[in-house]
């Protein structure tokens, strides 16, 4: 299991477009992927789930990956968060 702490760094926050991209990235991997925020655990492969997260700039999330390809998934997805969803 891999845990990664990430911070939302783009101004618009986790809005619809990055939410969709995250889910698309996660779909490529077999491992389980959970996003946690304020005590809520969301399955990162569920777009409707990820859309319930209100994560504005500055908020912190915990990403958990578990499964055979967890390393690659963790790297790619946390990198996308750290790049500010390519909106910096």
């Amino acid at each position: 299991m891999i845990e990664k702490k990430v911070k939302i760094v783009n101004q618009a926050g986790l809005h619809t477009r990055p939410a969709a991209t995250i889910v698309k990235l996660a779909a490529k991997y077999r491992c389980e992927f959970v996003i946690s925020k304020d005590g809520m655990n969301i399955n990162g492969k569920s777009i409707i789930g990820v859309m319930t997260l209100a994560a504005e700039m500055g908020s912190e999330l915990l990403l958990t990956f578990e499964g055979e390809d967890e390393q690659q998934a963790a790297d790619e997805i946390s990198d996308y968060f750290n790049r500010g969803f390519d909106e910096l």
Partner: protein
């Protein structure tokens, strides 16, 4: 021949609303029902059949959404279509679908009940979050939920069967309007909303008549009723008599003659008979309106309301996304000017914060809100600068009430310029900066404020509201919203005089300019530019071209001596009669 007023007075089959887009049409009604979907929570016996039904409904929903998605990509910016893409992804959501299927097996209830219950849970979570854009998001989800349920109930997709009809609805979502824009809709009627509602804006951009804010049109009109929609006066006649039909057919004929005549004015300037030229600009709310701006001969865009971008997206666009939207617009109107107004959020427009201000119109709105949210403000400034390569963009600040606000904003603009120079971006280093005059304090200080900026634009809607201390949306006091009140006329006169003294141009971009009665007065006061909805621009131009500037100056002077609104409107009416100028509503 009878006047419109007489006709409407006598009519018993009338519905009254707000005239949102000009034009008259007679045709059948199509009731676009956002009816409460009845959910059947009955038990089922055949689980496999229920699952198959669900699968089919999902497949059908996908097909429909794919169609909307591709339309949206054509009509909106591709990135704005993200709302629809997310909806499509929901239809493939593995977690959601497996939960629904599991519950069907376990609970043995109708799939529509499970779908409704399961998706509503997520909506509940969104609504519980206090971010305002999450409520928008919940309503996007509502759309997809209802779509699946409707397909489960094997109801026809309503939007498919419309063509050449008048659409009547409580209100319309962006998705609805995108679809209708393709169905050759002849008119819009809504229960709710005002001049800036989605239906109003879209109908102006599509050039079809609309009456909004009727309160109860959906209750009084049935599918297939014949309707007369008068978008000039804001009236609807339901199942009209033969006399009424004849009367309006005659009007429609005259209207098309008038419009043919107006087309010839397209490339002619709005010049008075004695040579005073008024620059005619257009107010633009949605990108779709640009076509009309060009075909109706506007000399540029006097007001582009950027908060519309937020409303369509439901969230804040990134710097690059904004830069792309602005630069597309700039290219479309080049070499004419494009005046971009900074986000005017707060008041009744776009709820920004979770907390309620006790008095939002006197609270954190316009420039005040931007100066409290420097990152948001700078994102827009940088985007506007990046889009300014063609050198036809001007940037305008809303709700200014003091000089220090202008100075602070200019300082931020300079900071952004420095950053962009360091980043080796090409932009217009001399971009013109202007302000809206819409607060009495700014009006009184026009001269001093004008010295700080390149241009001024009067926003009459707010200015009148603040001068009269009246909320125009409040039925109890809306009578006091008097656009021709002497205090308003005197304030306008003062602003123009002071702007002239500072050698700065001043335009007027409120709804007042859409009222033909106001045109001679505004010309007489000495306004340089008028910025109005592109759909009414040709009508206004016709009036200006029949005026004598000298006479309107005298008219304005006379109005400055009046002590009631009535005296002024009587003077204006008389002016039209004495100079044999016919108002649009009296021609047709």
């Amino acid at each position: 021949m009878k006047s419109f007023i007489q006709i409407y007075k006598e009519a018993k089959n009338k519905i009254v609303g707000i005239a949102a887009a000009p034009g008259i049409v007679i045709t059948k009604a199509y009731l676009f029902n956002k009816e409460k979907i009845e959910i059947n929570n009955g038990e089922i016996t055949d689980i496999e059949e229920a699952k198959r039904n669900l699968e089919e409904a999902i497949a059908k929903s996908k097909k429909e959404l794919n169609k909307i998605f591709s339309l949206a990509k054509e009509k909106m910016e591709a990135t704005r279509a993200a709302i629809f893409e997310a909806q499509l992804m929901i239809l493939d959501d593995p977690v959601l679908l497996s939960n629904i299927n599991l519950r069907i097996e376990k609970e043995r209830k109708q799939p529509e009940y499970i779908v409704n219950d399961e998706i509503s849970k997520y909506q509940q979570l969104m609504i519980l979050s206090h971010e305002s854009y999450m409520a928008e998001r919940a309503s996007d989800i509502e759309d997809i939920k209802n779509r699946i349920i409707r397909n489960l109930q094997k109801k026809r997709w309503q939007s498919k069967i419309i063509s050449d009809l008048i659409v009547i609805s409580e209100n319309l979502t962006p998705a609805d309007t995108i679809l209708f824009s393709r169905c050759n809709v002849q008119g819009f009627i809504t229960d709710h909303g005002g001049l800036t509602s989605h239906a109003a804006i879209i109908s102006r951009s599509l050039n079809i008549p609309a009456v909004v804010g009727t309160h109860n049109a959906t209750k009084h009109i049935k599918d297939g009723d014949t309707l007369i929609v008068d978008g000039f006066h804001g009236y609807i006649l339901v199942n009209p008599s033969q006399d009424q039909i004849d009367y309006f057919n005659n009007k429609i004929e005259k209207l098309s003659e008038l419009q043919a005549g107006l087309k010839e004015l397209k490339d002619k300037p709005a010049t008075t008979t004695d040579g005073r030229e008024i620059t005619m600009l257009a107010n633009v709310d949605v990108t779709g309106e640009i076509d009309l701006v060009i075909t109706n001969g506007a000399q540029g865009i006097g007001l582009y309301r950027t908060e519309q971008v937020l409303e369509e997206l439901g969230e804040f666009p990134s710097e690059n996304e904004q830069a792309r939207i602005y630069s597309n617009l700039s290219a479309r109107v080049y070499p004419s000017p494009l005046t971009i107004r900074a986000f005017d959020i707060g008041g009744d427009k776009f709820k920004f914060f979770a907390f309620d201000e006790p008095n939002p119109f006197l609270g954190l709105r316009g420039i005040r809100l931007l100066l409290e949210n420097i990152t948001l403000f700078k994102t827009q400034i940088r985007a506007v600068l990046k889009a300014s390569k063609n050198k036809n963009i001007e940037y305008m600040l809303p709700m200014v009430s003091t000089i220090s606000e202008i100075r602070r904003a200019k300082q931020l603009i300079e900071e952004c310029k420095k950053e962009l120079i360091q980043e080796k971006e090409i932009f217009d280093k001399n971009i013109k900066i202007g302000i809206m005059i819409e607060v009495p304090s700014a009006a009184l200080m026009t001269y001093e404020l004008a010295l700080e900026v390149d241009f001024l634009s009067i926003g009459t809607n707010d200015l009148i509201q603040y001068i009269m201390a009246v909320d125009r949306g409040n039925d109890l006091v809306s009578d006091l919203y008097q656009e021709f009140h002497p205090s308003v006329v005197r304030t306008l006169y003062h602003i123009v005089k002071e702007a002239d003294r500072a050698h700065k141009t001043v335009s007027l971009c409120g709804e007042m300019a859409a009222d033909t009665l106001a045109i001679p007065l505004l010309v007489g006061i000495g306004i340089h530019h008028l910025s109005i909805s592109p759909s009414i621009l040709p009508y206004t131009k016709r009036i200006i071209r029949s005026l004598s500037f000298e006479k309107t100056k005298k008219l304005a002077e006379a109005c400055l001596t009046c002590s009631t609104e009535k005296e002024i409107t009587e003077k204006l009416d008389k002016f039209f009669k004495d100079n044999s100028i016919t108002r649009t509503r009296n021609i047709i």
